[in-house]
Amino acid sequence: MMCQNCSKRPATVHWTKIINNEKTEVHLCEVCAKESNQFDFDIDSSFSLQNFLTGLMGGDPEDLRISDQKKVQCDTCGLTHQQFAKMGRFGCGKCYEVFGEQLKPMLKRIHGSTSHSGKVPKRAGGTLRIKRRISELKESLQRCIYREEFEKAAEIRDEIKKLEEELE
């Protein structure tokens, strides 16, 4: 069985928790287990994916105390960093902005990336669709110039110009 966090190394630390007949199993490699800071084997401590996520965000319990002092709180849903540390879930879309900088290392560790390159919704996507289209067109413009297809290149240039005007 592979580590359920990194999926790269074999899981060597296995943790089973049974509370009210609900069984939860965690399988980690040594590196991730160490990094999680969760293995104090305290009977009261509850280990779950949520706790584990908060371990990835900052990782050090010290960080949580510092941010507590700073009173980082989402002004839309009221979620505090401490609550996030407890639930491992955000309260609303705005949280992503509020916890922005602290969030990035966590996202990087979960997904290996911090930038979306998938679907852009028609309305909520705002100008992103246009921006993506412009960068696609710029790439094909370069290809046309390279192949000396100047007539086509001019067409693409005009299209880019039109889209850029739309953005302004």
Binding site: S7, K8, C77, R89, G91, G93, H116
Partner: protein, 356 residues
């Protein structure tokens, strides 16, 4: 009565046959979406969650001609057994079954689409197809997503993509998964090597009932692990590629087993069939293991006159809530083992004797 029960009990989407149906039991796409400026369900008030349901309901009404009719059911209107039956049919998640507060599901008539409302995220669109049909499931989910977005303001960030309650879903919000029956690879002891390789290409492997469920009856669920940084199409392509390779390896393993030990294989599936046909008390684990052996025998032509959909149907029918629905009363675990053996025997009678 059994006929009627069988007709309605297993999910309708399972009845169809898709590509590679002898190995790929089903394909599923799930999108997690949230509305802008409304707290996610865990922190939302009643007014907010009602708005989520109404917005989704209204947007889907317009789709009824092209994308099928969707029936809205509130979780609070269902009793525990009914909810559990839906979980066992994979139509709703265990979490939605627990949530009573303005949680609902919009189910398409053929049960291939279920849209969960106010689960962990406001909206979770799920499309399920038999066999290997990930692209088809994606297309449908994409259409439904566009349609809902026409009247809903989604929480979306240019850099992070679709914003979700759990950071493990942010980005595409998409989870694509396939359910595979791999008895050949398991019997030839190749499965562990292959599964650890799968973990290394960014995919996760689980048992029949998703997160934290163990693998029983050689049924594996494989899904994308990351949701940020890759496009939906690339994620699907990746999963599709790996699935096709697994199908190929499974076919090869089956062929090798057939060449090397046909008689032993026939003996194994024949005995499994014998046990299932005659057992009076059976646990769900043992039943799934035997069903897997029977299904392999059917797929390889070693067992004749057995309906090949036997595994698909019984996989759902033998689960606790479905059994209790069939028995029309609450059953303790021991009674369930008895009822399970009964329903398996009857299902086998139906498919072999063509009764009723």
């Amino acid at each position: 009565m059994l006929n009627e029960y069988l007709k309605n009990a297993s999910a309708k989407w399972m009845k169809g046959e898709g590509p590679y149906h002898n190995i790929v039991l089903s394909s599923r796409i799930r999108f997690a979406r949230n509305l802008k400026n409304i707290p996610f369900p865990s922190l939302a008030g009643d007014e907010d969650t009602e708005k989520v349901v109404n917005t989704t309901k209204d947007s889907l009404k317009r789709a009824e001609t092209g994308l099928g009719k969707h029936q809205l059911t509130w979780m609070k209107d269902l009793d525990n057994l009914e909810k559990q039956v839906m979980v066992e049919k994979h139509l709703i998640s265990p979490l939605l079954a627990k949530e009573d507060r303005n949680s609902a599901v919009m189910l398409r008539e053929d049960e291939a689409v279920s849209i969960m409302l106010n689960e962990e995220d406001h909206i979770r669109i799920q499309c399920l197809f038999p066999g290997l049909q990930l692209e088809k499931a994606y297309e449908l989910a994409d259409q439904l997503d566009d349609l809902i977005e026409e009247s809903a303001d989604y929480a979306f960030d240019e850099e992070l993509g679709f914003l979700t309650a759990c950071p493990t879903n942010v980005g595409t919000g998409m989870r694509a998964s396939v359910m595979l029956h791999l008895p050949g690879l398991a019997l030839s002891k190749q499965i562990n090597r292959i599964l650890s390789a799968i973990g290394q290409v960014g995919l996760a492997v689980r048992g029949l009932y998703g997160e934290e469920s163990e693998v029983v009856g050689n049924i594996f669920q494989i899904s994308n692990q990351i949701t940020l940084g890759q496009s939906e199409k690339d994620m699907i392509k990746n999963l599709l590629g790996v699935t096709k390779q697994l199908v190929e390896q499974e076919e090869q393993a089956r062929q090798n087993l057939l060449n090397e030990s046909k008689i032993r294989l026939a003996d194994k599936s024949g005995r499994a069939f014998g046990k299932l046909s005659n057992a009076r008390i059976i646990s769900s684990k043992e039943a799934l293991e035997l069903l897997s052996q029977v299904r392999l025998g059917v797929d390889l032509g070693l067992l004749e006159n057995v309906d090949p959909t036997i595994l698909d149907d019984l996989m759902v029918l033998i689960r606790p809530a479905n059994l209790q629905k069939y028995a029309r009363k609450d059953l303790n675990p021991q009674d369930r083992d008895i009822k399970r053996a009964e329903i398996i025997r009857k299902r086998i009678d139906l498919s072999t004797n063509k009764e009723g």
